[in-house]
C-alpha cells in the first residue's frame, strides 16, 4: 500500500499543472452539485416559510360556531395522526419557527376578522363562513366586501372557534382522521375543516404531501443527474488525460512487476488525495456560489413582486448538511469511478511492452491529405494529424463542446419563447381588463356634491406618488346592495312579488343600483350614453348594463320592462325602534330560559345584549372614519323601469356577476324609497411614477381608510409580477447557461492545454529542427480551430435536429401557428451558436497559448527531457 501512496503523491507534486486541473475539475463538479442542492433547499425552505407566514402554520383548522366538545379534542389529541393542537388567532400563531405559546381563547375575535384575514380563501370556504342561521353571517353577507373595515367591539362574542392541528408525517391520510372523528361525533354539519394543502405538501404529510414532494424531487433529481453526468465527464477527462501521459510509466511499472491492481490503486490513490483538496474547496465554493445567487435574486425585485412586501423576510438561505454530504459523496464517487475506470483502461493492454512503447506506437494510421492541409499548407496538415492523434480526446472535446453549445442554444431559445409569451400577456393586459390604468381604488366622499370627486382626485394627486389619478366613475347612495335572500324579513307583499321574479340562480340574485350625476353619467358610458341624462331623469327609469359574462336580459325577471326586486337596506334605528328591539331580545331570552328549564337543563344567559347591524350614516372628516349607528334591515319591494340596455366594455366589471342598473342622482333623490343618500363612492384610475412611488402609495392608502384598495384591481403589481417573473426566468436561464458553459470550458481547457503539455518534448523537438515560434503558434491555433469547427458543426446538426423535431411535433399536435408564436425557425439559434463559437475559440486559444508560451520561454533542452 505504502508505495502506491508515495507514487500517487509524487505524481501529484511533479505534475503540478495536471493536478491543478484535476483539482479544479473536482472543485467545480462538487461546487456545482453543492450549489444545486443548496439552492433547492433554500427554495423549499423559503417557500415553506412563506406559506407559514401568509397562510397559517397549521395543517388543518377546525371552525365551529359552538364550543368543540372536550371529548372530541381529547380523542384527537390522543390520535397518532396529530402532533400538536391548540386554539389560534390568525395573527398570533405559535410554531417552532415562531416561538411563543398558544393564544388563549379570545372573545376579541369576530367573524369579521376572520373574513378579512381569509378573504382569499376559495368559494367553498367562504360559503362555510356565511353559513345561514347566525345574525353575524347574515350581516357579513350584507357587506360588499370592499366596504369599511370594522374592528370588533370590546366584549364582542366570537362566532367561530378556531382549533388548529399540526399533523404527523407518517400516516397515509392523517387529515381524514380528523374528519372521521368529527363525523363519528355526529358534528359533521357543525364543524368545518380547513386544510392547508400547501403546508401539507411541504411537510410531507400523508399521501398527498408525499406524492407531491416526490414529484418535485423527481424533477430536481433529473436536473441533478443531468448535471452530475456532465460533471462526471469533466472529472473523467481530467483523469484520462493526466494518466494517458503516464501510460508509458505504468507500462514500465508493470514490466518490473507491478500488478494491475497496484496500478489501479495508484491512480485511485491519486484521485483520493486530490479530492482531499478538491471536495472541501468545492463545497466552500458551492456555498459561495449559492449565496451569491441568493443575493442576486434578492437584489432583483422578483421576491417583492411575487411574494409581496414581507416576502423578503420569508426567504431563508439554507445550507443543509444532507445536500452538502450528497454533493461531496457524488463528487468523491465520480472521482473514484473515473480513477478506477482510467486505471483499468491503463492496464487493459495485453502486454506491458505496448504501454512502454505507448508514446510512439499509438499512432497507427495518419490521414495523408486533409482540407486543413490544403488551406494552411504543411502546418495545417500537421495540425489535422495531431488533432486526430487521440481519437477519444478529439471525440470527447467535440462532443462536450457540441452538447453544451446545443444546450445553451436551446435554453436561450426557451427563454426567448417564454419572454415572447410573457410580453404578449403584458401588452394585452389593458385589452383584457378594459381599463387603461395601473390600479383602481375606491374612495368615499362625505358629500354628494358635484366636486366631491374632484376633491379626492386632488388629494390623491397632491401625494406626488401618481403620474395620473382620475375619477373613473362615481356611485351615489347609502345603500347600494339589494338582494333577496332573507325571505322571513321581507314584508309579505314584497315577498310575493320577489318570489315571482327572483330567478337568477347563477348570479346569486344580486342587483347593484348606481346613481350618477350628469358628468359621471357621461363618463361612465365613455361619452356615448344611449339615453341622455335628462331623458333618464324625466322618465325616472334605469339603464340595464349588459356585459359579455352577464346573463342575457331575457333571463332576468323583467316583465313589461319592469324589474321588481326586494330591496334590503340597513337603516339607523330610532330610539323607539331600538327599545322595541331590546324588548324583543329580552323576550327571546326569557323564552329560551323557559325552554331550557322545561328540558331540565341549566340556562346560561347570553352575556352581551341584542346585536344590531351597523348602519353607515356618514363620513367623519375630522377623525377620517365612517360614522356608524345601530341599524336594522328593512326590506321593501322595489320596481325599476328599464329604459334601455347598454354594454360596458370592461370584462372586469362583469366579473362581479351582479346585475347593474344605472340611473341619475335626481331619480334617486326623488324616490321616496331611497332615503339615505349621504355619500358618494368613487372609483379612481391610478398610474404610478415608479416602483418606489407604488410602495409609498400603498402605504399611504393603508393609512387613509377613506380609500379602499383591492388586490385584484392592482394591475401594476400584476404586470410587474409577470415582468419580474420573466426576469427571474431569464436570470435562472443565464445561470444555467453559465454553468453549462463552464463545464464545457473546463473540459476543453483540460483537453487542449494538456494536449500541449503532453507534447512538450515533441514540440521542443520540432523547435530543435528549426520550427519557429510563429509556426508553432500557427500549428496550435490550427488545432484549436479544428476542435471548435468540429464542435460547432456538430452543435448545428444537433440544434437544427431539435428545431426540426419541435416543428414536427407542433405540426403533429395540430398547432402549426404555435411554431411561429414560439419563433421556431432554423435561423433563430444561429446568432447564439455564432457567439458560442467565438467564445469557444477564445477559450481554446487561451488554453493552448498559456502552456505554449510558458514552454517557449524555457530552454529547448529542458523541454526535450520532457518532465515537469
Amino acid at each position: 500500500m505504502r508505495f502506491e501512496g508515495t507514487l500517487a503523491r509524487r505524481y501529484i507534486f511533479s505534475q503540478k499543472r495536471h493536478s491543478l486541473l484535476t483539482v479544479c475539475s473536482i472543485t467545480i463538479a462538487v461546487a456545482m452539485m453543492a450549489m444545486i442542492f443548496i439552492l433547492v433547499q433554500t427554495m423549499f425552505a423559503s417557500e415553506r416559510t412563506h406559506i407559514i407566514n401568509t397562510e397559517m402554520p397549521f395543517h388543518t383548522v377546525l371552525l365551529s360556531e359552538k364550543v368543540i366538545p372536550e371529548s372530541l379534542l381529547d380523542e384527537l389529541r390522543a390520535s397518532p395522526a396529530i402532533a400538536d393542537c391548540g386554539y389560534f388567532e390568525p395573527d398570533q400563531y405559535y410554531t417552532p419557527e415562531k416561538p411563543g405559546r398558544y393564544v388563549e381563547y379570545s372573545p376579541m375575535k369576530s367573524v369579521y376578522n376572520y373574513y378579512l384575514a381569509y378573504k382569499k380563501y376559495s368559494e367553498e370556504e367562504l360559503a362555510a363562513l356565511s353559513d345561514p342561521g347566525s345574525a353575524e353571517s347574515r350581516e357579513l353577507r350584507m357587506q360588499s366586501g370592499s366596504s369599511v373595515i370594522r374592528v370588533p367591539e370590546k366584549g364582542a362574542k366570537p362566532v367561530y372557534i378556531n382549533y388548529a392541528f399540526r399533523l404527523k408525517e407518517g400516516m397515509m391520510e392523517p387529515y381524514s382522521v380528523v374528519t372521521d372523528a368529527i363525523n363519528n361525533a355526529g358534528l359533521s354539519g357543525e364543524i368545518h375543516q380547513l386544510r392547508n394543502d400547501e403546508l401539507i405538501i411541504f411537510d410531507y404529510i400523508g399521501m398527498d404531501g408525499k406524492f407531491s414532494m416526490a414529484m418535485m424531487f423527481t424533477l430536481v433529481f433529473v436536473l441533478v443527474v443531468l448535471f452530475a453526468m456532465a460533471l462526471r465527464m469533466v472529472i473523467d477527462t481530467a483523469f484520462e488525460i493526466s494518466s494517458r501521459e503516464r501510460e508509458r510509466q505504468f507500462g514500465v511499472l508493470q514490466s518490473i512487476g507491478a500488478t494491475k491492481k497496484q496500478i489501479v490503486r495508484i491512480i485511485t490513490r491519486e484521485g483520493l488525495q486530490l479530492s482531499v483538496i478538491g471536495v472541501p474547496l468545492g463545497l466552500c465554493l458551492g456555498i459561495g456560489f449559492a449565496y451569491l445567487t441568493y443575493r442576486v435574486v434578492l437584489s432583483t425585485k422578483v421576491i417583492y413582486w411575487t411574494w409581496g412586501e414581507h416576502g423578503m423576510d420569508d426567504v431563508i438561505f439554507k445550507v443543509g448538511a444532507g445536500g452538502l454530504i450528497t454533493a461531496a459523496i457524488t463528487g468523491l464517487g465520480w472521482v473514484l469511478l473515473s480513477a478506477y475506470g482510467t486505471g483499468l483502461r491503463m492496464v487493459k493492454k495485453k502486454a506491458p511492452i505496448e504501454a512502454v512503447r505507448a508514446s510512439q506506437s499509438k499512432i497507427r494510421k495518419v490521414k495523408k491529405h486533409s482540407v486543413f492541409g490544403l488551406l494552411f499548407g504543411w502546418v495545417g496538415a500537421l495540425a489535422a494529424r495531431n488533432v486526430r492523434r487521440s481519437k477519444k480526446r478529439y471525440v470527447v472535446t467535440i462532443l462536450s463542446l457540441a452538447v453544451s453549445v446545443t444546450l445553451v442554444a436551446t435554453v436561450s431559445y426557451a427563454a426567448d419563447s417564454y419572454r415572447r409569451i410573457a410580453t404578449a400577456a403584458v401588452s394585452e393586459f389593458g385589452a383584457v381588463t378594459g381599463v387603461e390604468c395601473q390600479m383602481m381604488i375606491e374612495g368615499y366622499a362625505d358629500s354628494i356634491g358635484k366636486d366631491a370627486g374632484k376633491q379626492l382626485e386632488k388629494e390623491l394627486s397632491d401625494t406626488g406618488y401618481f403620474k395620473s389619478a382620475r375619477v373613473l366613475y362615481g356611485v351615489y347612495g347609502g345603500e347600494k346592495l339589494s338582494r333577496v335572500d332573507n325571505p322571513e324579513d321581507i314584508p309579505e307583499a314584497a315577498k310575493a312579488q320577489a318570489d315571482e321574479n327572483y330567478s337568477l340562480p347563477e348570479m346569486g340574485g344580486m342587483y347593484y343600483f348606481i346613481y350618477l350625476n350628469e358628468e359621471d353619467y357621461n363618463n361612465y358610458f365613455d361619452g356615448e350614453p344611449q339615453i341622455s341624462y335628462q331623458e333618464l331623469t324625466q322618465s325616472r327609469r334605469y339603464v340595464l348594463i349588459t356585459g359579455k359574462q352577464l346573463p342575457a336580459p331575457e333571463t332576468l325577471p323583467i316583465h313589461d320592462n319592469r324589474l321588481t326586486v326586494a330591496l334590503s337596506a340597513i337603516v339607523p334605528l330610532s330610539d323607539e325602534r331600538r327599545a322595541e328591539k331590546v324588548a324583543e331580545w329580552e323576550a327571546q331570552q326569557e323564552e329560551k330560559r323557559k325552554a331550557a328549564e322545561a328540558e331540565g337543563e341549566e340556562y346560561e344567559p347570553e352575556a352581551d345584549g341584542p346585536h344590531f347591524f351597523t348602519s353607515f350614516v356618514g363620513w367623519d372628516a375630522e377623525k377620517k372614519q365612517p360614522i356608524e349607528a345601530d341599524g336594522e334591515i328593512v326590506n321593501k319591494a322595489f320596481t325599476a323601469e328599464i329604459a334601455g340596455q347598454q354594454s360596458k366594455k370592461s370584462t372586469l366589471f362583469t366579473e362581479y356577476g351582479i346585475t347593474f342598473l344605472v340611473s341619475t342622482v335626481d331619480v334617486y333623490m326623488e324616490n321616496e324609497m331611497l332615503t339615505s343618500l349621504q355619500h358618494a363612492e368613487y372609483t379612481f384610475a391610478l398610474d404610478f411614477k415608479d416602483d418606489d412611488s407604488y410602495s409609498a402609495a400603498l402605504e399611504w392608502i393603508k393609512t387613509h381608510p377613506r380609500y379602499q384598495y383591492e388586490e385584484h384591481e392592482d394591475y401594476y403589481s400584476m404586470v410587474r409580477q409577470i415582468e419580474t417573473g420573466t426576469a427571474a426566468v431569464d436570470l435562472t436561464i443565464r445561470v444555467l447557461s453559465l454553468l453549462i458553459s463552464m463545464i464545457a470550458a473546463v473540459s476543453m481547457i483540460n483537453v487542449i492545454s494538456t494536449g500541449i503539455l503532453n507534447r512538450r518534448s515533441e514540440l521542443a523537438g520540432m523547435q530543435s529542427v528549426g520550427m519557429t515560434r510563429r509556426q508553432q503558434l500557427g500549428l496550435v491555433l490550427c488545432e484549436c480551430v479544428q476542435f471548435v469547427i468540429g464542435g460547432i458543426v456538430l452543435a448545428l446538426v444537433f440544434t437544427m435536429g431539435a428545431v426540426f423535431a419541435m416543428r414536427k411535433l407542433v405540426n403533429a399536435v395540430g398547432l402549426p401557428e404555435l411554431a411561429d408564436q414560439l419563433g421556431l425557425t432554423y435561423t433563430k439559434p444561429l446568432p447564439v451558436i455564432g457567439i458560442a463559437a467565438v467564445c469557444a475559440f477564445a477559450v481554446a486559444v487561451i488554453a493552448a497559448l498559456l502552456p505554449l508560451g510558458r514552454m517557449q520561454r524555457e530552454p529547448i533542452v529542458e523541454s526535450l527531457r520532457g518532465f515537469d
Binding site: 507500462g251 514500465v252 512487476g257 507491478a258 495485453k350 502486454a351 506491458p352 511492452i353 527531457r865
Partner: protein, 243 residues
C-alpha cells in the same frame, strides 16, 4: 541444468500485407549461470525476443519455460509477480520512473513485493554502481550513464533468476561501456547470475560465454566462445556464493 527453455517462439506483428514476422520459430535453451549475447542487424527481432522472455510481451505462438515452468501459463497477477521476482529487465532507454529518486527506482520491485530493503544491501549496490552520491537524485537530474546504471541496479537488486539487457551500453561511451560490462561480468562470476545481453558491439559479445546471432527472426548462428567451458563450474561456484 537448463534455466530457460524457448520452444518454437513466433511473434507476428500486423496483419496481411503489413505482416511482420519479428520472430520465426526460435528455439533454444539457456543453462543456469550462462552469460549469453544476442547479436543481429537492426530489426532482426532481438528486442522482441527479450521482451517475450521478460514476459512484457506475449509470443504469437510457442512457449517459454523458466525452471521448467511455462511462463505464459500463469495468470496476470502471477505474471506480474514473476516479472517482479524472476526477471530483471534493462531497457535500452532506461525507462526509469521519473518521479522516483535513484534509490527508490532501484528498490521499487522489492517494495512492490511488500519487502523492506535492507539498508546495507542498498548502500552496497549503490556503491557498486557508483551512485552513492546520486541516491536522492531524480532521473532527470542524472546523466545517461548514471540512468543506465540505475536501471541495471533496479534489475539486479532483487536478485532475479535472469537478467535481460537490451543494449545496456548502447548509449554510453567506451569507458562507461567497459565499466558496465565489467560489472555484469563480475556479477555473473560472483553470483552465477544468468544473463541475456543484446549488443551490437563485437567486443562485448566476446566477453560472453555464448553468442546467438539472429537475422529476420531466425537463429542464424549459435556458438560458444572460448569462455564457454567454464560455464558449468562457474555456475556451481555461483551457487555456493549465493548461499
Amino acid at each position: 541444468m537448463e534455466l530457460l527453455k524457448m520452444e518454437h517462439l513466433t511473434k507476428i506483428y500486423g496483419k496481411g500485407e503489413n505482416e511482420v514476422r519479428a520472430l520465426d520459430d526460435v528455439s533454444f535453451t539457456v543453462p543456469k549461470g550462462q552469460m549469453l549475447a544476442i547479436i543481429g542487424p537492426s530489426g532482426s527481432g532481438k528486442s522482441t525476443l527479450l521482451h517475450i522472455i521478460g514476459a512484457v510481451d506475449r509470443p504469437t505462438s510457442g512457449k517459454v519455460y523458466l525452471n521448467g515452468e511455462d511462463v505464459f501459463a500463469r495468470k496476470d497477477e502471477q505474471l506480474a509477480i514473476f516479472r517482479r521476482r524472476e526477471v530483471g529487465l534493462i531497457y535500452q532507454f532506461y525507462n526509469l520512473i521519473p518521479v522516483l529518486t535513484a534509490e527508490e527506482n532501484m528498490t521499487l520491485p522489492m517494495i512492490m513485493d511488500g519487502k523492506k530493503p535492507e539498508k546495507a544491501a542498498v548502500d552496497k549496490m549503490l556503491d557498486q554502481m557508483g551512485l552513492l552520491q546520486r541516491r536522492n537524485h531524480l532521473p532527470s537530474q542524472l546523466s545517461g550513464g548514471q540512468q543506465q546504471r540505475v536501471s541495471i541496479a533496479r534489475a539486479l537488486f532483487n536478485m532475479p533468476s535472469v537478467i535481460l539487457a537490451d543494449e545496456p551500453t548502447g548509449n554510453l561511451d567506451s569507458k562507461n561501456s567497459r565499466e558496465i560490462m565489467e560489472l555484469l561480468r563480475q556479477l555473473n562470476h560472483d553470483f552465477g547470475q544468468t544473463m541475456l545481453i543484446i549488443t551490437h558491439d563485437e567486443n562485448i559479445a566476446l566477453l560472453c560465454d555464448r553468442v546467438i546471432a539472429i537475422e529476420d527472426g531466425r537463429i542464424l548462428r549459435d556458438e560458444l566462445t572460448g569462455r564457454a567451458s567454464r560455464t558449468e563450474e562457474q555456475a556451481e561456484e555461483g551457487e555456493d556464493n549465493a548461499v
